[in-house]
Symmetry: C2
Subunit: 205 residues, 2 copies
Amino acid sequence: MSEGTLIVYSGPSGVGKGTILRPYLESHPEAVLSVSVTTRAPRPGETDGVEYHFITREEFDRLAKSDGLLEHAEYSGNCYGTPRAAVERHIAEGRDVVLEIEVQGAMKIRESFPEAVFVFILPPSYGTLHERLAGRGTETPEAMEARLRTARFELSHAAEYDYVIVNDDVEKAREQLGAIITAAKCRTRNMKKFIDKVCEFHEYA
Amino acid sequence: MSEGTLIVYSGPSGVGKGTILRPYLESHPEAVLSVSVTTRAPRPGETDGVEYHFITREEFDRLAKSDGLLEHAEYSGNCYGTPRAAVERHIAEGRDVVLEIEVQGAMKIRESFPEAVFVFILPPSYGTLHERLAGRGTETPEAMEARLRTARFELSHAAEYDYVIVNDDVEKAREQLGAIITAAKCRTRNMKKFIDKVCEFHEYA
């Protein structure tokens, strides 16, 4: 059985990552979305094991110290991380795993999983994203400016990914995501062992 | 209008390149198969402009000297080459162009078109290819051995391509070819200009 593919999936808040990804996951039950661990308290409506695994700071520190997290970071006093064991188990079982994580976490994944496929979702323009975030209107100007600053930081790292998808036509974007995952399995760097096997000519030479 | 994509498509004789490619071309009329020029005489059933553009040695030399060929090579005293003008015109018009060429020509294309997508078709094993070629039974043992030697040479360069497709299930191989071409347009290296445009934040900073 061949290994699954790790898909690292990023893009600024408000760009439509979930809208593009959801139908893919629904039509590919062999693909799993990795659930992060966090030390922050669940918000109303959040379920442990669905949005996040909610754990204590002590449990988090133990995981981090035992190399149990593929990447982790602290935001506003809360810790977030990607549990290594579940990802490695699914990949070994031949299942594809999607990590929806931010840019800095993604770059750490590249160190431990260089064969992962890195996909970044872009807005058609920064202006579109600005309007979409401003249109939410549920935030203070300061919170909104912080969110836009983060968006600009994330966008400025898009070129470090393998593929970018422009979310100007959601159906096209969904088709492109599917194509990228299919194509990623054919990338030469993921097929080296197979190529070597086909090139064993000695018994015919 | 955005530019088309150049697809460099290779694989050993007998691997099934045409069987995989044909339905793609039929369902994508915007994609064109580049027709090579050759100095060899047409075989019975071949039509000028379909299998090849049949030209004289003088015409060939003039094209080659005026940088009119993207790549060219000589086999058994006959010259073959990819005419540059048609490829560049189609790409500029936004059409995808497929070059079905051998390994050495492909590597020359990489120098002038680094943004092209390089796809190599692999047999499930060398044994399968060996059987398929032997099964044709229309050749002398010497011609057959020459063909297998060329196949081994080509296979040993598969790792230099961007993507490999294993032709063990032709429907799957066709789907993978389509996905690779769609995904190639999303490769970050082909999207740099667009990424730079989205990252023009100055008017918002």
